[in-house]
């Protein structure tokens, strides 16, 4: 491609800052999003103080906040709502998606398909920088008068339409983030369709590539409605339109000056039309990572590769027709709710298929329990809990009681935190040697895994009990009698959350120390079959010395009659 770059080494800022190399961009994405993940976690850890010890001053750090946030160290409800809304937004749009797609996807997809780079390197660079600006805008929103967005990450109007300035900043940030994802998704689709190495048919692609492929379609098709909706909400706030405002609103005892005639439910439809597929954007790459790591560490092919691929595609399609199960309580008719209940039950089937295939993949293996594998294996049952608890929420009758309670928070966090986050950690431990040429310490890795595993269940398991008891989410203070009855659980959850924070110290240490002093390893330390391991670590510019020619499927482990127990995709049998 760009052969001039071999002759003239690029200046530093072109090579590492405004780089067009997918590997550099992948690392930029990964580092930025990891920082956002820790920041988003910090927000919720602060929020958990108020839930555990309502209206007691936050020790020590309380003094650093201004008096629109805390008074005498006591958190104000406005600020509490900002913490909740921004935690959700940051975790989803600035943390998990950019790490799973921008980080892992960018780094690995071109390597795994044997391509020298993404199809559109400039677009790739642009999508990172648009994401970066979106992130800065979101962070800045804490400093505008009356603070950041406080209407939940779902931003339901009319509340969000009449909310303070922070909501406008939030919407502008969202427009950047959505645009970034759109640019990225186009790039992935073209790369996977056009740039596969010779011999790499679709059904020889690693499952991870399939997961990214389907994810990209979800991003491409689901984000535009939210982009439109965000612009409409901006207009409602700035230009005096009333897309989401019905006639006759009286806010704070005063009639609201607006034209009316809009419908608040329109926002919900547009939002969830994005946000349900978004859930699969959060989990498909995670499933992809787990599949790679399980195949590698069981030393055998994964179970039902093709079935998993078809299930993933089917899941992708179905994810566009379940959105209104988030809206069962908006008074939809029974025929509408029946339709969405049925589609919701149907979408659970491919999910069960994929999870079952991953579990059965362990059968007959020779299982190595290194750190990536521990995270990947722990993913399975916890993701399973997330999936199972979706069942009572998907049935309208049981959802009446559970909707908008902590049961929901428990359910989706089991999917995205003990689920996706664990898979992402697995991926970091697994591919770190490819990116740096050095391995993360196994000892610190296990010191990271075990406490994290215990604490994360300590956080989210009790939330189901809170939810069954009827405790609503987004409650600043447990004033209700039914919330008082289970308040000790909130204290327990908060301690576990802070414990989870501490449990990340070994990870951070490990990451930083190993970067400079980790054990040097050769290019294929896990003895893996897929293409990214068949080049140096880190791979050279344009990835491969010679363009690889693919001969085998992705998971040829323990092939009888071979000298070694793995047969790389581009290697002849001996």
């Amino acid at each position: 491609m760009n052969h001039a770059s071999h002759a003239h080494p690029l200046p530093f800022w072109r090579k590492y800052i405004f780089s067009m190399d997918h590997k550099v961009i992948g690392v930029q994405y990964a580092v930025t999003s990891l920082l956002f993940l820790f920041f988003g976690f910090g927000l919720i850890s602060l929020l958990r103080w108020q839930l555990a010890f309502p209206s007691q001053p936050v020790p020590f750090i309380g003094q650093f906040f201004n008096d629109t946030q805390m008074v005498g160290g006591i958190m104000l409800p406005e600020f509490y709502n900002q913490l909740g809304a921004m935690h959700g937004t940051i975790m989803v749009f600035l943390g998990v998606v950019p790490l799973a797609v921008g980080g892992f996807g960018n780094y690995l997809v071109p390597l795994q398909v044997g391509a020298p780079d993404m199809a559109f390197p400039k677009l790739n660079m642009m999508s990172y920088w648009v994401y970066f600006i979106g992130g800065i805008v979101m962070l800045c929103s804490f400093f505008v008068p009356a603070g950041a967005a406080q209407s939940g990450w779902t931003s339901y109007p009319p509340l969000s339409d009449v909310a303070p300035l922070g909501q406008t900043v939030w919407l502008i940030g969202m427009v950047f983030l959505i645009t970034s994802s759109l640019l990225g998704s186009v790039n992935f689709i073209v790369t996977i369709v056009q740039l596969r190495a010779q011999g790499l048919t679709f059904f020889k692609m690693p499952f991870f590539v399939w997961a990214q492929f389907v994810t990209s379609f979800l991003l491409l098709l689901a984000f535009p409605p939210l982009e439109a909706a965000s612009v409409m909400q901006l207009m409602d706030r700035l230009a005096g339109t009333s897309f989401f405002l019905p006639s006759g609103l009286v806010v704070g005892g005063q009639p609201l000056a607006h034209t009316g005639g809009g419908n608040p439910l329109l926002w919900q439809h547009l939002f969830w039309f994005l946000a349900h597929p978004e859930v699969y954007v959060l989990i498909l790459p995670a499933l992809g990572i787990v599949a790679e790591i399980i195949a590698n560490n069981t030393r055998k092919p994964i179970y039902g590769y093709k079935v998993m691929v078809f299930a993933t595609i089917f899941l992708g399609f179905m994810s566009f027709v379940v959105w209104a199960h988030h809206m069962f309580l908006t008074n939809m008719g029974t025929s509408m709710s029946s339709f969405f209940q049925i589609t919701t039950m149907i979408i659970s089937i491919p999910s069960v298929v994929i999870l079952t295939a991953l579990i059965l993949s362990l059968w007959g293996g020779s299982i190595r329990f290194n750190t990536p594998m521990l995270f990947a294996v722990a993913f399975l049952p916890m993701f399973g809990i997330g999936g199972l608890t979706g069942l009572p929420l998907g049935l309208t009758a049981s959802d009446i009681h559970l909707h908008d309670t902590y049961y929901v928070i428990g359910h989706f966090h089991y999917v995205v935190a003990p689920g996706t986050i664990f898979a992402l950690f697995a991926g970091i431990y697994f591919w770190f040697p490819k990116v740096t040429g050095r391995k993360l310490s196994e000892f610190l890795g296990k010191l990271h895994f075990w406490p994290s595993f215990i604490f994360i269940n300590g956080i989210f398991m009790p939330m189901f009990i809170l939810g069954l008891a009827g405790v609503s989410r987004r409650l600043y203070s447990p004033e209700y009698a039914h919330a008082q009855a289970v308040q000790p659980l909130n204290v327990f959850i908060s301690y576990c959350a802070w414990g989870l924070g501490l449990a990340q110290i070994p990870f951070i240490l490990n990451f930083v120390i190993s970067l400079f002093a980790g054990k040097k390893v050769d290019s294929n330390p896990w003895e893996s079959t897929t293409l990214e391991w068949q080049t140096t670590s880190p791979p050279p510019h344009e990835n491969f010395e010679h363009e690889p020619v693919v001969l085998h499927g992705p998971y040829e482990y323990s092939v009888p009659g071979q000298k070694k127990d793995f047969l790389p995709q581009n290697m002849r049998e001996n």
């Binding site: 409800p77 339901y156 509340l159 009449v162 019905p246 006639s247 006759g248 609103l249 009286v250 806010v251 005892g253 009639p255 608040p264 439910l265 069981t298 179970y303 039902g304 309580l329 908006t330 029974t334 709710s337 209940q341 049925i342 039950m345 089937i349 069960v352 579990i359 362990l362 059968w363 007959g364 293996g365 020779s366 190595r368 329990f369 809990i385 199972l388 069942l391 009572p392 049935l395 009758a397 049981s398 009446i400 909707h403 908008d404 069954l468 008891a469 609503s472 989410r473 987004r474 409650l475 203070s477 004033e479 209700y480 009698a481 039914h482 008082q484 009855a485 289970v486 482990y557 127990d565």
Partner: protein, 256 residues
Amino acid sequence: MSKYYGWGLPFNASANGAAIDRLIYGIHGIMFVLFIGWLTFLVYTLIRFRARPGHQAAYKVHHFKAPTYLEVSVALIEVLLLVGFSFPIMNHVKNQFPNEAGALKIHVVAEQFAWNIHYPGADGVFGKTRQDLMGSDNPVGLDPSDPHAADDIVTINQLHIPVNKPIIINLTSKDVIHSFFLPVMRVKQDAIPGDLIPLWMEANKTGDFEIACAQLCGLGHYRMRGFFSIHTQEDFDKWLKDNAPAPAAAPVAPAV
């Protein structure tokens, strides 16, 4: 209060609640069995196939029959849950409204951060309400010139109903979306400005409980708490009489 609330579902004071509770507990039973089954298999597999000297992974994938059966039975269970439970319950709750003649009708108007409860009073007819009349002394905007309005009762955060009598509530909101949640009645319904949403319920036990707001509605969401009392019919009639507006009083004073 804690005799009503604890770990697990809240006290049930509703005729419709038992079916919902049965469904919730039933699903959790199924989930528990499935999960324990999975987990046992997972742990057993991890131990049996751990890497150790002399142990070799099998290249040929073992083909299981069980997953197909599992898949099919999960699908069948879901069909059963839908057709046997969720559809009929929802049909009952949403479509089979009690006869208006024998029911008590109430309007509930949510606002940041209170529940305005409007009873039609002795004549059984709601007085007209107008948005431009809404204010702190007239939260639902009752029109004093309407003769039907004279005997209407408007309370703030005080919902009183008789036991064993169907109640029809028309729910709306003045400002933002709230969610009208009566935990002990297994009732939860979003209150959406611009929409008038009907719901019905019937209590089968008396007691003093709460109204909660279940949808983030602003900084006071957590304290949008109302009182909810289920009385015997006699006590309820007495409450109505005690709170009926004095015959000549022109502006309707809300009872707090």
